[in-house]
């Protein structure tokens, strides 16, 4: 089975910070109080806790799926000016 990854929809997240409290192994906060999600797949032993953390997000901004994190693919897309 391929790995599971956590993502946050930044347009929904308003910085409740619950996720970073519940899952500090994979989620830290930036200097502005918003979650930085680990780009690594969720390790097996944290799978249950990760699911509970997803369910606990008051903004419903946190999701877990099989798509690798966008941040992990540093080499890939470059910033696109808006008229792309």
């Amino acid at each position: 089975m391929s790995g599971r990854y956590l993502h946050v929809d930044p347009t929904l997240c308003v910085g409740h910070r619950l996720c970073a409290e519940m899952l500090p192994e994979l989620i830290t906060l930036d200097d502005f109080g918003y979650p930085i999600i680990s780009a690594d797949p969720v390790p097996r032993h944290l799978g249950r806790l990760a699911r509970r953390t997803v369910g606990a997000c008051p903004a419903l901004a946190l999701v877990m799926d099989g798509n690798p994190s966008r941040r992990a693919r540093r080499d890939e897309p470059r910033p696109v000016p808006p008229s792309g």
């Binding site: 929809d9 930044p10 347009t11 929904l12 997240c13 308003v14 910085g15 930036d30 200097d31 502005f32 109080g33 918003y34 930085i36 798509n67 966008r70 941040r71 540093r74 897309p77 470059r78 910033p79 696109v80 000016p81 808006p82 008229s83 792309g84």
Partner: protein, 432 residues
């Protein structure tokens, strides 16, 4: 070392490598839009005559063999995008994106005003390839809208509704998801992807959002073939591109340049001031290049890669003598911060903080502010719904590394750059 060799007095600036202004900007230098009769007279026949009985597979294959990449900044292979939409079958939507919300850019507007039929050729070719049911063309200015509407009325070969719309004015409004929301009647704000717009775009339909210059090249590829298209440019990035050149040049404006042209040649042709300080490539998301880089690099994605830069949407700004690159970058970054959609925390709070830090660096050369700039850039990158924060971070990083002499000068309380700026930074409009 200067950025570009000075021209001898009275010397005629003739580009040494062609074809400059030979494709999109070929034909008579008109004050207004080229009429359909002239367009067809120059290129022969309507786009349907050129597509003939060719099926969408064959047309797509022509595009694939041409190697055409997007000219809106992303540089994505056009055939791949077309194929991603076509995969869903007919009934999709085409959006010709000429919203051009970058203030230092003017090439899409010029193209739509002077050569609307080239863009419409490409729009109709894309429509044909996709079997699209609806198309939009988004322009930045009222004259461009008028030119395209008049051109559409001239054409007998428009099989589907094409709505011509004046685009949003906010900077992020030209991003594809924001533009689609705008065309649906909503606010021009980006949304989180996935789903990608090629899968679920306008009203949930698979949607091709393509820059208008890309479409103009696409129309010519379908007419004249991939081999012709590859007659300019470099092997992995064929064709010409439109650049908008501003700053310390005698003749600012839009030039059509073969991809891979050496940067000094581009600057020389436009009459660049040999004493200019630095060149901003890729617009306000771009990178500053100093003389050694400008001297050795060419205008292409691969040619600029050694300096960590990209051509973006072809925006070049030459920083005049006596202007401080740090201060100018601080102004751009503050403007970009104010232009965010204020939807995503890292961008809404991070960019203003970075702009303050960069302005502090520009005032005092503060080491602490430089460190903050680096730390926040690393934190913010890749964490917005769109790539607005990433572009702003790119500019900030480039500013922090491109002007070491200015930094030293600022630490001793001096600054060599008090000349007025030539940067275009319009007042921030209200979010749409």
């Amino acid at each position: 070392m200067t950025l570009v060799a000075p021209a001898a007095p009275g010397e005629l600036r003739v580009p040494r490598s062609g074809p400059w202004n030979q494709r999109l900007l070929a034909g008579p230098k008109l004050g207004g839009a080229e009429p359909l009769a002239d367009h067809v007279g120059r290129l022969g026949g309507g786009i349907t005559d050129w597509t003939g009985r060719a099926g969408h597979h064959q047309l797509l294959e022509r595009v694939r063999r041409s190697g055409l990449r997007g000219r809106g900044g992303g540089g994505f292979p056009t055939a791949e995008k077309l194929a991603a939409v076509r995969r869903h079958g007919p009934g999709s939507v085409v959006v010709a994106n000429g919203s051009e919300t970058e203030p230092a850019a003017g090439k899409d507007d010029l193209l739509l005003r002077l050569r609307p039929h080239l863009v419409l050729d490409g729009l109709l070719a894309a429509t044909r390839i996709l079997g699209a049911r609806q198309a939009f063309l988004v322009a930045h200015t009222a004259p461009a809208v008028a030119a395209v509407e008049a051109a559409l009325r001239e054409r007998p070969d428009v099989p589907i509704p094409v709505e011509v719309v004046r685009g949003p004015t906010n900077f992020v409004g030209g991003e594809e998801t924001a533009l689609i929301r705008w065309l649906e009647g909503g606010q021009a704000l980006p949304r989180y992807q996935p789903p990608r717009v090629v899968d679920r775009g306008w009203r949930g339909l698979p949607t091709l959002v393509q820059n208008v210059e890309t479409l103009a090249h696409l129309g010519l590829v379908v007419r004249l073939g991939p081999e012709w298209f590859r007659g300019a440019g470099v092997a992995d990035e064929p064709g010409t591109m439109l650049v908008t050149l501003s700053g310390a040049v005698e003749a600012p404006g839009v030039y059509e340049v073969p991809i891979g042209t050496p940067l000094p040649e581009v600057l020389y042709v436009a009459g660049a001031d040999p004493g200019a300080v630095a060149l901003l490539v890729g617009g306000y998301f771009g990178s500053w290049l100093r003389a050694p880089d400008v001297q050795r690099l060419t205008l292409s994605r691969s040619g600029l890669r050694p300096a960590g830069a990209t051509p973006g949407a072809g925006v070049l700004h030459l920083l005049p003598q006596g202007t401080c690159g740090l201060r100018e970058s601080g102004r751009i970054l503050a403007w970009l911060a104010a232009q965010g959609a204020r939807q995503c925390g890292p961008c809404a709070f991070g960019l203003p903080a970075m702009a303050s830090a960069l302005n502090e660096v520009a005032k005092t050369g503060s080491e602490a502010a430089l460190e903050q700039l680096e730390r926040w850039g690393d934190q913010i990158e890749g964490r917005g719904a769109c790539r607005h924060p990433d572009g702003a971070v790119n500019l900030a990083r480039s500013a922090a590394s491109a002007f070491p002499d200015e930094l030293r000068r600022h630490r001793s309380g001096a600054c060599g750059g008090y000349r007025p700026s030539l940067l275009s930074l319009p007042p921030a409009p209200d979010p749409q």
